[in-house]
C-alpha cells in the first residue's frame, strides 16, 4: 500500500490503466498471440494431430512452393479480392450516395439493404446454391428455360463458379458498407456544399472535389475492412460447394478453405500451418499497402 501511495499521479494513472487493461491483454495473449506463435512453430514441423511432432525445417514451405494447387488457390484468393473489393466499394457508394438524398421511405430502404448483412452466411449460401442449380430445381435456370434460353452452368463450371460464389458475398457485405458510407456522407459539413452552390459548380465537381476527398477516411476503412474479408472468404465457398469443397477443379478454392482441408481432412497440421503463415503475410502486406496508398497527406 505504501508503495502505491509513494507513486506520482502520472504513475498511478499508469498503474490503473494497466489494471484495467490486464484482462484484455491476458485474453489476447492467451487466446490470440500464443496460438499464433504456436502456428509459426508448427509450420516447421510435421504433425498429424495424433502422433509426435517432428522438426522438418523449411520442408512445408518448399512443398507449398511446388504445389500447383497452392498457386491456383493463391490466384483465386486474389481474384476474390480484386473483383470483390472494388465492386462492393462502388456499389455501396452509389447506393449510399442516392439513399442519402432520398427522403421517401428512407429508413425502410436502408433496412432492406442492411438485412442481408444480418442473415447467417451459411443459410444465405445454401439458398443461393439452390438458386444456381440446373433445371428442374434452380430458380435462375428455370427462369432462363421458361423463356427458351439455354441453361447456364453457374457452379458446375470452372469459369463461372468463382463469380457465382462471390456474388452473394458482395451482396451480403453491401448493407454494412452502405451504412458506413452514409455516416461518412452525413459527417461532411453542409457549409462546403452551400459554398459550392453559391459558386454554381455542377454535381460532378461537387462529387469529385468535395464529397470523395472528404470521404477518404471512410473509404480507407471500408477498403481495408472488405479486403481482409475477401481474402479470408470461407463460409460462402464452403457452403456452396460442400460436396466438392472449392470445386470444380479447385476453381473456387480460397486459401482459407485449403488450410481447413489440409488440417481437418488431411490431418497434415504442419503443412496447414505453413499455409496459415502465408495467409498471415498476405493479409499483413495487403493491409500495409492499402494504408500506405490511402494515407492522408
Amino acid at each position: 500500500m505504501r508503495l502505491y501511495s509513494n507513486l506520482s499521479i502520472k504513475q498511478k494513472q499508469i498503474v490503473w490503466a494497466w489494471a484495467f487493461l490486464a484482462l484484455p491483454v491476458l485474453f489476447y495473449g492467451i487466446i490470440r498471440f500464443y496460438p499464433t506463435g504456436t502456428a509459426f512453430v508448427i509450420s516447421f514441423q510435421e504433425w498429424n494431430l495424433l502422433g509426435d511432432r517432428t522438426w522438418i525445417g523449411w520442408d512445408n514451405y518448399v512443398e507449398l512452393w511446388n504445389d500447383p494447387v497452392f498457386w491456383k488457390v493463391f490466384v483465386n484468393t486474389f481474384e476474390y479480392l480484386l473483383i470483390g473489393t472494388p465492386l462492393s466499394l462502388v456499389l455501396s457508394f452509389i447506393i449510399a450516395y442516392h439513399l442519402d438524398k432520398l427522403r421517401f421511405m428512407h429508413g425502410f430502404l436502408r433496412m432492406l439493404y442492411f438485412l442481408p448483412f444480418m442473415t447467417s452466411a451459411v443459410a444465405m449460401a445454401w439458398v443461393w446454391r439452390w438458386f444456381y442449380q440446373d433445371v428442374p430445381i434452380g430458380l435462375f435456370n428455370n427462369l432462363l428455360a421458361s423463356v427458351g434460353i439455354p441453361q447456364i452452368a453457374f457452379l458446375n463450371s470452372t469459369t463461372n463458379a468463382l463469380p457465382a460464389v462471390l456474388a452473394p458475398a458482395v451482396w451480403a457485405g453491401l448493407g454494412f458498407q452502405v451504412i458506413i458510407f452514409m455516416a461518412g456522407l452525413r459527417a461532411i459539413p453542409q457549409s462546403y456544399y452551400e459554398a459550392a452552390k453559391i459558386d454554381g459548380v455542377g454535381w460532378w465537381t461537387v462529387l469529385t472535389q468535395i464529397t470523395i476527398p472528404l470521404l477518404r477516411p471512410t473509404i480507407v476503412f471500408i477498403v481495408v475492412f472488405s479486403s481482409i474479408g475477401f481474402l479470408r472468404i470461407f463460409d460462402h465457398v464452403f457452403n456452396m460447394t460442400t460436396n466438392n469443397p472449392g470445386g470444380p477443379l479447385n476453381s473456387t478454392k480460397p486459401l482459407v478453405l485449403m488450410i481447413y482441408d489440409t488440417a481437418f481432412n488431411g490431418f497434415n497440421m504442419g503443412y496447414a500451418a505453413a499455409q496459415t503463415v502465408v495467409l498471415f503475410l498476405i493479409l499483413l502486406l495487403v493491409s500495409l499497402a492499402q494504408l500506405w496508398l490511402l494515407r492522408s497527406d
Binding site: 502422433g51 446454391r129 442449380q133 433445371v135 470445386g247
Partner: protein, 417 residues
C-alpha cells in the same frame, strides 16, 4: 411418534448406505461416437441392456458432430480425458495405434483364431499377430436402390446386369423441350458413394485390381480401369446420357425427391429413405457384368479400448466390448441403424439374408472388398476431379485416369513413407 421418527431415520440411513455402497462399487466408463441419429439411438439401447446385465457398471455416452470427432478424440485421450471405449473408422486404425490412443484387445477374451472364424474376413484388417486392436458391431456394403413408381411407369424391371441397368435407366430418363434433363435414369456423382462403386466394384468387374501391395500401390491405370471409367462416364456424357452430374445438387436428394430411377448407396441410407413420404423404393444387388461378375465395397466402424482405460475401468471396458460385439448387439444394430451384422452367423441367417431390404446388402458382403484409405476424402477428391477434367475440360478418359492414378500414388507414398 418416537418410534415413527426412529423408523424414518433408520430407513434414511439404510437408503443412504445403499446409495453409498453402490457408489463405491459402480464403475463408470465413457463411450464416444460421432453423432448420427440412428447410431445414437441404437447405442442407447445397447447401453441400457448392458447396464441391466452388469448393474455395477454404468456407461456414459458422448457424441460429437462428425466434423469435430477426430480432433476431439486426438486431443482428449493424451490429456487423460475422454473415452474408455471409442468408435473409429477402420481406415484410422494405423494412426490410432501409432499415436498410442488405443490398446490391443486381450487375447484371452478375444482370441484371434476365434474372431477369424466368426467375423467376415474383411475384419482381419484389425488383426496384429495374435491379437485384435478393434472390432466392429456392424459392416456396410453398397446396393442399387430403385424407385418403384418410375420403374412401373417405364415398364421395366430392376436390373441384374449392366445392359439391363442402362436400358432401364434410359427408359426412365426424361427431358424437357430444350433437351435439359428433368428426371435422371440413374444418379451419378463421385462425391457420393460412386467412387467406392468405381474402385472396388466396376474396376474389378472389368477384370482389374484397383490396388496392389496391400493398397499401397495404385493399379487402376490399366485397360480395366479405363473400361470402368468409360462405362461410368457413359452414364452422364453424350446425347443419350441417363444422368447428369450435380443433378438436383446431390444424388441422394434427387432419389429422395422421386426424380431418379436408380441410386447406388449404402445400407445406412435405408433409415432416411424410410422416412421420405410418398417414395416407393426397393433395393437390389449391384448389377453384374454380362458374364455375371460381381463386386462390392464394404466398410465399417470399429470399437476399441483406449489407453486411458486402466484397472477396473479396463475390466469394465472389456466387458462392454464383449457385449457390443455380441450377436444380440449386432441384431439390434441391424434393426435400428440398418447396418449389417459383422458376423456371418448373425448376418447370413435365412431371415436376414432373404430380407427384402437388407438382403441385397448382406448378399453383397460375400463378394465385397474393403479399400484401405490413407486419406479418404483426399482420395475421393481425386476421383471427383478425374470426372470433372472429362466433363468440364474435355480431357480424354485415358489422360484423366493417368493423372488421377499418379496423384493418388503420391498420397499413398506420403502416407506410407
Amino acid at each position: 411418534m418416537t418410534r415413527y421418527l426412529k423408523g424414518v431415520a433408520l430407513a434414511g440411513m439404510t437408503s443412504a448406505m445403499a446409495l453409498f455402497s453402490s457408489a463405491v462399487s459402480a464403475v463408470e466408463i465413457e463411450y464416444w461416437q460421432y453423432f448420427f441419429d440412428a447410431r445414437v439411438t441404437a447405442m442407447e439401447q445397447l447401453i441400457e441392456n448392458f447396464e441391466t446385465a452388469n448393474p455395477d457398471i454404468t456407461v456414459k455416452m458422448t457424441h460429437f458432430p462428425y466434423a469435430d470427432y477426430r480432433t476431439k478424440v486426438a486431443a482428449a485421450i493424451p490429456a487423460g480425458e475422454g473415452p474408455d471405449v471409442v468408435q473409429l473408422f477402420y481406415g484410422w486404425l494405423n494412426d490410432y495405434v501409432a499415436a498410442e490412443l488405443i490398446q490391443p484387445l486381450p487375447a484371452e477374451t478375444f482370441p484371434a483364431s476365434q474372431i477369424d472364424d466368426d467375423f467376415f474376413p474383411m475384419v482381419q484388417a484389425m488383426k496384429d499377430g495374435d491379437h485384435y486392436w478393434a472390432l466392429p458391431t456392424a459392416v456396410r456394403s453398397l446396393a442399387l436402390f430403385y424407385n418403384e413408381r418410375l420403374l412401373d411407369e417405364a415398364g421395366v424391371e430392376p436390373p441384374t446386369n449392366f445392359n439391363e441397368l442402362m436400358a432401364a435407366a434410359k427408359a426412365m430418363t426424361k427431358r424437357d423441350g430444350a433437351g435439359n434433363i428433368t428426371q435422371v435414369g440413374m444418379t451419378a456423382g463421385m462425391t457420393a458413394q460412386d467412387h467406392h462403386w468405381w474402385r472396388e466394384g466396376l474396376i474389378r468387374q472389368f477384370g482389374g485390381e484397383p490396388y496392389l501391395d496391400d493398397y499401397q500401390t495404385v493399379n487402376y491405370n490399366t485397360d480395366a480401369g479405363l473400361q470402368a471409367l468409360e462405362f461410368y462416364a457413359s452414364l452422364f456424357s453424350g446425347d443419350d446420357a441417363v444422368s447428369a452430374i450435380g443433378f438436383m445438387d446431390e444424388p441422394q436428394a434427387a432419389f429422395k425427391a422421386g426424380r431418379a430411377g436408380f441410386h447406388i448407396d449404402g445400407s445406412f441410407r435405408i433409415g432416411s429413405l424410410d422416412k421420405t413420404r410418398g417414395l416407393k423404393w426397393g433395393v437390389t444387388e449391384l448389377p453384374a457384368t454380362a458374364e455375371g461378375a460381381r463386386s462390392n465395397y464394404s466398410s465399417y466402424w470399429v470399437n476399441a479400448i483406449t489407453t486411458k482405460a486402466e484397472g477396473e475401468k479396463y475390466d469394465a471396458a472389456v466387458k462392454f466390448m464383449e457385449y457390443v460385439t455380441s450377436d444380440e448387439a449386432m441384431q439390434i444394430w441391424l434393426d435400428v441403424v440398418g447396418e449389417l451384422p459383422a458376423k456371418p452367423s448373425v448376418g447370413l441367417t435365412d431371415a436376414n439374408a432373404s430380407n427384402e431390404t437388407y438382403g441385397p446388402f448382406i448378399r453383397g458382403l460375400a463378394y465385397a472388398n474393403t479399400t484401405k484409405f490413407a486419406n479418404e476424402s483426399g482420395q475421393r477428391q481425386l476421383m471427383v476431379e478425374m470426372v470433372e477434367r472429362m466433363t468440364l475440360e474435355g480431357m480424354s478418359a485415358a489422360d484423366s485416369l493417368a493423372i488421377a492414378a499418379e496423384a493418388e500414388q503420391k498420397i499413398l507414398d506420403d502416407y506410407y513413407k
